[in-house]
Amino acid sequence: MKKGQFMLIAVILVAISFSIIFTYVRSADTSAVIFFEPNSRADFINLQNSVTTRNSWLDSYWFDLNWQNRSTFLISGSGVIQVDPQIPAGKDCFNEVRVADSGNNEIPSDVTAMTAPCNVEFAASSGTYQIYWNNPSATAPLYRGPPVPLVAPTGALIRKEGTPTNLLCPHIINAYKGLADINCAVQNIYSNNQINYSVQFRSLDVSFEGSLN
């Protein structure tokens, strides 16, 4: 055989090999060869969607994200009741405590002591109420009077929770850390319970750096 024929055979074999390689990718989402990097547009849309839907959900879930904690009570019956939100000792009850109904409407309330431990008194009917506390920058609302006499709590404490403000970003970073150069942080809280996120998302086909809400 002549040199040219070997060359031709080699070129054909190389071409065939690369065409075969090109048509194979690894399972699920990860490409086996560099030609088929996964399309990450859908993932970025997912990220954007998660931020938007979370802000929409927070509107009905949390009264105001400047309050770091809340205690939820299930009230049976109607009237003025007192409950113990189990606020840690030393916390400011007089300035910081707020009560909201299930629709996140603020309900006028009083407290039994200036600082915790304190009970909270408010007019309620059967349903779920939340006592918010832990906002050092809050000042006493106009309706708050001097501490009321302490009586036995009458509502059932369902749960105590911390703010969900910082829970989405770690989830997003964990979900996309292998797919893109990702960074996410809470930028600021606006309109009481809406969050601006500072997001950086860089993949081969999507490059974004900015705020999402």
Binding site: T23, A28, I45, N49, S50, H171
Partner: protein, 145 residues
Amino acid sequence: MVNKKGYFYFIEIIFIVILMATVILSFPRAETSHVRLTEQSNLKAIGFTTLKNLDESGIFSKYIDSYTFTNSNFTAINTYVKQGLPSTIGTKIQYELISNCYSESGASENCGLNITGNQDATLSEYIFSKRPVPVTIRLFSWRLL
């Protein structure tokens, strides 16, 4: 002599190419053509849209427990997801919560597809963020026909 050197040189190239092709082809196979790749992209989009629609219609909020994930109604979620897709598509649902994965029945399992014979599967992910701790719902889907 010059011709012989050239002969061995090309033989070497051919062997190297064959060797490389063999190694790369030993990866699990998902696609056999560009058409299939497009199909896979379509499946991914269908999966994402299905999950998004279920969230927007309040299904996930209703059946995924806000505080204790394992108390969710997984049977109801499975039913809604599978009914939202054509019967020609096979599916497997997986949930990821704080780096722990749960099967479509709510049992703890390793993250990933973990089913042999379904290397064609496409992964659609949806972050359900309407609960204090978000959950990623993963939908593996593949053509049955």
